[in-house]
């Protein structure tokens, strides 16, 4: 085989791609990082919270440089019915100090920042370049990519596909089955502007401290969830919607966002805030169920392209999985290039690293969680049942004496039409996943 143009081509300048490029370039390989947008991050959107600890090794003291909006020191999980809200609210001062925990950040800022490290490591960043297909040799091994630039073929020893949730490269390589709508959710977000002092006061935080609110039950008949995050002088409010349900219920995404914003527990928080940007993105929601094969001869798949997004109700993570899988793909590529074997077998270090770390361990542990969280009972029956139990517990109905909690539970379960064995089964599934 003739000499390839470069050692590694990374497709996609998101968190997975940049981390792959950083690792490979620092190890001395020649690396090209391709980005179809005008700058890394320009195509990328998410709810708003990143958990960056995986960067500790790659970028020591990353928090001194990272373009974050606020450090999440307050986390709320909210359950809504039309007229009720039950919130579990946690705050920790520890999360407001190095090494921190979660942070709100905009993806165009974050991804652009991270790609800077790839360039600093020696990777060549090519923006405005869309990859249109794979180049394969006679045996079917991936040996490069075709881009939409004139003379845009680029050959490489290893291609790392970090081309996002729609990953046309993973599909072309035959690693993905036909995309099934039930494995995806649509995230729709409004970025709203509001003065910092108003946010600080409304959300009871100071300085760079911020709030992450995850919401169950705020999406009407469409299975999904809601979120509300604080930026420095912005709010991010939006919904995540199960695709087949969205289509079946004939409800428009922006109407569901408006519905959430109008809820009595949310409306006072977003009042007066002006729409700055409306955006949307698809989420690979189904975890292990939908994951493609991630290695083939000459190619690795990382990040959303490999469905490495954790959508497990109380844990909603993706950027950390993308950064980690990108790093491990970079390491495996370095190993394979040094060994002179970029076959599927030569690249097996990638799968091993994913299996040995949180990337696949979390997904295995939580494999039943995405389906449970989006199930009809969790979505449409339990929030009302639980909110009614809370309301009756705290409602002082004198001259009647207080009813016992067990009686309230039994009555509300029946009223909600929840069968005991279903409740036990869901409780057991939840316990096995989250416990």
């Amino acid at each position: 085989m003739s000499q390839p143009d470069v050692d590694v081509v990374v497709v996609g300048g998101g968190p997975a791609g940049s981390c792959a490029a950083i690792v490979a370039a620092r190890a001395g390989l020649s690396v090209v990082l391709l980005e179809r947008g005008p700058f890394p991050g320009s195509k990328n959107m998410y709810g708003g919270v990143v958990y960056p600890r995986i960067l500790d090794e790659l970028i020591p003291n990353w928090w001194e440089e990272a373009p974050i909006q606020r450090w999440v020191t307050r986390r709320s999980t909210m359950m809504l019915t039309d007229t009720q809200a039950l919130t579990v609210d946690f705050r920790s001062e520890a999360w407001g100090k190095p090494p921190y925990n979660g942070a709100t950040a905009f993806r165009p800022d974050w991804d652009h920042w991270l790609a800077g490290y790839a360039e600093a490591a020696g990777a060549q960043l090519l923006t405005d370049t869309t990859v249109v297909g794979l180049i394969r040799d006679a045996k079917g091994a991936v040996v490069g990519v075709r881009t939409d630039r004139p003379d845009g073929d680029l050959t490489a020893r290893v291609v790392i596909a970090c081309d996002g949730v729609n990953s046309f490269l993973a599909k072309e390589a035959g690693l993905y089955e036909h995309a099934d709508a039930k494995h995806f959710t649509l995230g729709v977000k409004e970025t709203l502007s509001l003065p910092k002092e108003v946010i600080d006061e409304r959300f009871a935080v100071r300085d760079r401290h911020g709030v992450d609110i995850e919401i169950l039950g705020g999406t009407g008949k469409v299975n999904g969830g809601g979120f509300l995050y604080t930026g420095l002088d912005t709010l991010a409010v939006g919904v995540v919607l199960k695709l087949p349900k969205l289509a079946a219920q004939q409800q428009r995404p922006e109407q569901l966002v408006a519905g959430l914003k109008a809820h009595p527990a949310i409306a006072p928080l977003v009042q007066g805030a002006e729409l700055k940007e409306y955006s949307a993105h698809l989420i690979p929601e189904a975890g292990l169920t939908m994951m493609p094969k991630m290695t083939t001869s000459g190619m690795l798949v990382a990040g959303d392209a490999a469905a490495l997004c954790l959508a497990a109700g109380i844990w909603l993570e993706g950027v950390n999985f993308a950064m980690a899988s990108g790093m491990y793909a970079g390491e495996a590529a370095v190993e394979a290039v040094h060994a002179g074997d970029v076959s599927e077998n030569g690249l097996r270090g990638y799968q091993r690293r994913l299996s040995d770390t949180f990337v696949l361990k979390d997904h295995r542990k939580l494999r039943r969680a995405p389906e449970l969280v989006l199930s009809d009972r969790v979505q449409h029956l339990y929030p009302g049942m639980i909110a009614n139990v809370a309301e009756r517990m705290f409602h002082v109905d004198n001259p009647h004496p207080k009813p016992g909690v067990r009686r309230i539970l039994a009555q509300e379960r029946k009223k909600a039409g929840v069968r005991r064995r279903d409740l036990l089964r869901d409780g057991w599934t939840g316990f096995r996943s989250f416990g």
């Binding site: 179809r36 991050g41 995404p253």
Partner: protein
């Protein structure tokens, strides 16, 4: 802009799109003609698919978020062909 007064056009105007002259979405009207479920019309967050009075669908690609929802929710094989826009074009989310 407060939410109660904002039109869908105004909503879409908050996002930046660098439109390329070639459409990256192609809809085969023949396949759509007898589709009654029309998932794309409801689900597309940019509302790019609009039903016509004669039972067809008109679409535009200009203000596309490139999310992929339309072709994934579509039940009809071959109705929607979708690929990424030319490099440097399409949606550009904002940096602060």
């Amino acid at each position: 802009m407060s939410d109660s007064t904002i039109s869908f056009q105004e909503r879409m105007a908050t996002a930046e799109f660098r439109v390329h002259h070639d459409a990256h979405i192609v809809v085969d009207g023949k396949v759509c003609a007898d589709c009654s479920t029309r998932e794309c019309v409801v689900a597309c967050p940019a509302s790019l698919f609009v039903p016509t009075s004669d039972g067809g669908i008109v679409f535009n690609y200009e203000q596309c978020f490139e999310c992929g929802t339309c072709y994934i929710v579509c039940n009809r094989e071959g109705a929607i062909s979708w690929h990424y826009p030319e490099g440097g074009h399409g949606v550009v989310f904002r940096r602060t």
